[in-house]
């Protein structure tokens, strides 16, 4: 069975990456292949990398409050590039009411801080 490939990324200017790195590590420990893109990715770069790397899921971390512009942009670009069926998920500092809005827009799941990472691993395995 093909190993799942997941993109883990930080979008925008926020550089607090401990959460994203933790997610990357825990996913790798669980046998999932992770492409970690590091800091300061734009939605365009993320979607292009997702295309190039032929990923099964796109994970995005944002703590700066820029999530309501970043996630919708990623979703839109995915549709435009014909990969609108790749699940987009993420976490960071995202208020509960924005989580609702993002999921309505098509983000598959948002994991608030301190989420048990076993849940994220479970989620990714079921993608």
């Amino acid at each position: 069975m093909k190993k799942k490939r997941i993109l883990v990324s930080k979008v925008g200017l926020d550089g607090h990456d401990l959460g994203a790195k933790l997610v990357a590590r825990v996913l790798r420990d669980a046998g999932i292949e992770v492409i970690y893109t590091g800091w300061r990715q734009t939605p365009e770069k993320i979607v292009n990398t997702a295309l190039q790397e032929d990923v099964d899921g796109i994970g995005i971390s944002v703590l700066s409050g820029a999530h309501m512009s970043a996630f919708p942009k990623v979703l839109q670009l995915c549709k435009e590039k014909g990969i609108g069926d790749i699940p987009v998920f993420g976490g960071g500092i995202i208020p509960a009411d924005d989580i609702v809005k993002l999921k309505e827009m098509g983000v598959r799941e948002i994991f608030p801080n301190e989420t048990d990472l076993a849940k994220i691993v479970e989620f990714v395995k079921n993608l």
Binding site: K10, G12, L13, D14, G15, H16, D17, L18, K21, L22, A24, R25, Y36, T37, G38, W39, R40, T42, L63, S64, G65, A66, M68, S69, A70, I93, P95, A96, D97, P112, N113, E114, D116, L117, A118
Partner: protein, 543 residues
């Protein structure tokens, strides 16, 4: 039935360093560490300054209540700053939005969605003028901004503001963080390659040394951002970063006692952990190690070079779950900071894990410091009141030994810059986070409201605070107008001189100050510096 042998539960200090703790400590613990008062402690005000820089610490001057704050448009920020001061804040550190921190303007393509979000939107001196309208900056105990990669620009903003108000630089207590090295390891607001970045940050220190501005704090070497690596790594990283700046400044022709008194220490006391004794020990080790480095390695003679001060930033491991628990956490963290002898302290607000703080939360954060200041006796009236505690002295010595070992490890790698570039700092930070987070998920590390005392299905509350949704549009409009109103010829001329100076060994502050006064923007000034130094291109990404 075979007898069950229960393993005794072990107790550890709270940081990732996890110092094993005995049931109780006695004078024999001092003896085993060869504790000699004069050598290990000295009185407060005596080398090695473990107990603090002054015998009469808070009696001479209480710690400064600084609030790190800022969001949205400068006008809104001005309103909040006035309110903070009315609640009793004594100093203001501007939280500026991420575009400023990475040297770009609000209308840059990478600023989309970021404008005014986790700090106030600032593009030029005009925004600083608006943010501090009707605020007498000379009456503030401290004023400044984090300004890590943009140290000279941040400093120039406040020099320019002072000048416009007819104030001399000696009258304004400007404080910057300005520790750019750590940005490459963690936090991520770097702009230029590392070596020019060190030169840029050091220019602010050199400027203050040359212009004789001991009222300013141009550089706070930071351990706090690496605190998840564990206490002895945190201190070792800060010290090695400090030595990188110091070595650079000395190589440019300065003597240690010309400038070392301008350095401050920014450790995570009361920030990641509220283990009182480990936090207080951390501060004492910071002071002791700095003093030894100054005296033994650099031959410093001036007591002000050798006895450093600590700045505090109390987050106390705040959680988004059951956020009101954070009120207790922040009070405990602040208490540890006071017992540790911080000279200035920002207390975070209980709702900040959710969003930017609401007004009542900000007031409460200030009141927390007020309660500490006015309602405790021995904490504020006695210097290093925990000094002599068998536990504290044991922890202090154990941490110190580990710090020296860690400093040697970093130096064997070639020093701070080499170690950061190799990814060593971030590896240690990640190792610490991975360890402690696993403990939280396994349940061996209690976190109230997260893995303890939480109902199944319990959600997190929604933070109240939201910025004006029109912020980005209005700021970009304002920037367009600014560009029309200012003297373009003068702006261009001052920017040209910034570029020239960047290519020389001259201090960047005078030309940047000239550009700032003509309302050159942060992005425009940084573009000149990028033309000379290039941009940082990240090394191998986390594997």
């Amino acid at each position: 039935m075979p007898e069950e042998v229960t393993q005794p539960i072990k107790y550890y200090s709270r940081s990732a360093a996890a110092y094993e703790l005995k049931e109780y400590y006695t004078p024999s613990d001092l003896a085993k560490n060869n504790f000699q008062y004069e050598e290990k402690l000295g009185d407060p005000g005596q080398y090695p300054y473990t107990r603090g820089a002054f015998p009469d610490m808070y009696r001479r001057k209480p710690w400064t209540i600084v609030m790190y704050s800022g969001y949205g448009l400068p006008e809104a920020c001005n309103e909040r700053y006035k309110r903070l001061l009315s609640y009793g804040a004594e100093g203001i550190s501007m939280a500026v939005h991420l575009p400023v921190q990475v040297g770009i303007d609000s209308d840059h393509e990478l600023s989309v969605g970021e404008v005014g979000r986790c700090g106030v939107a600032v593009d030029s001196l005009r925004d600083i003028e608006i943010a501090f309208k009707d605020i007498a900056i000379e009456k503030l105990a401290t004023v400044g901004m984090l300004g890590n990669s943009i140290g000279p620009i941040a400093f120039a903003f406040f020099l320019a503001l002072a000048e416009k108000r007819g104030l001399r630089p000696e009258q304004v207590h400007i404080t910057l963080q300005n520790d750019v090295i750590k940005e490459y390891a963690t936090r991520g607001t770097h702009i230029f390659p590392m070596e020019p970045a060190v030169r840029i940050a050091s220019d602010v220190v050199r400027y203050c040394a040359q212009k004789n501005l001991p009222n300013c704090n141009p550089m706070s070497i930071c351990g706090a951002h690496m605190q998840t690596a564990g206490t002895p790594w945190e201190i070792a990283f800060a010290m090695c970063d400090g030595m990188a700046y110091i070595d650079h400044i000395i190589s440019s022709g300065f003597k240690i006692d010309d400038f070392a008194h301008l350095f401050r220490l920014f450790l995570s006391v009361g920030s990641g952990s509220i283990d009182m004794f480990e936090e207080v020990a951390k501060a004492r080790v910071g002071r002791r190690v700095w003093a030894k480095i100054m005296k033994e390695r650099y031959g410093a003679q001036n007591p002000q070079s050798i006895a450093t001060q600590l700045f505090g930033f109390i987050i106390a491991g705040a959680t988004a779950q059951q956020p009101m628990n954070n009120i207790a956490r922040i009070a405990l963290g602040a208490h540890a900071a006071v017992l540790a002898g911080m000279v200035s302290m920002h207390t975070s607000c209980w709702d900040e894990a959710l969003t930017l703080p609401a007004e009542e939360a900000v007031q409460l954060a200030i009141r927390t410091q007020h309660v500490l200041r006015h309602e405790t006796g021995s904490e504020v009236g006695v210097t290093d009141p925990l000094g002599g505690s068998y536990l504290l002295e044991d922890l202090t010595d154990r941490i110190e030994a580990d710090v020296w070992r860690n400093i040697k490890t970093i130096e064997d790698m070639g020093g701070a810059l080499a170690a950061v570039q190799k990814g060593f700092y971030s590896q240690q930070v990640m190792a610490g986070v991975y360890k402690t987070q696993n403990e939280v998920w396994k349940g061996t590390r209690g976190l109230v409201g997260v893995n303890l005392y939480r109902k199944p299905g319990e959600g997190n509350p929604i933070g109240k605070f939201k910025i004006d949704p029109d912020t980005e549009r209005i700021k970009i409009e304002g920037l367009k107008n600014l560009r029309k109103e200012r003297n373009t010829t003068k702006v261009k001329e001052t920017l040209r001189i910034v570029r020239e100076t960047a290519g020389s060994a001259e201090n960047l502050i005078p030309p940047i100050l000239a550009a700032v006064k003509e309302y050159a923007t942060i992005g425009e000034i940084c573009d000149e510096l990028k033309a000379v130094y290039g941009e940082y291109s990240e090394g191998p990404v986390y594997q």
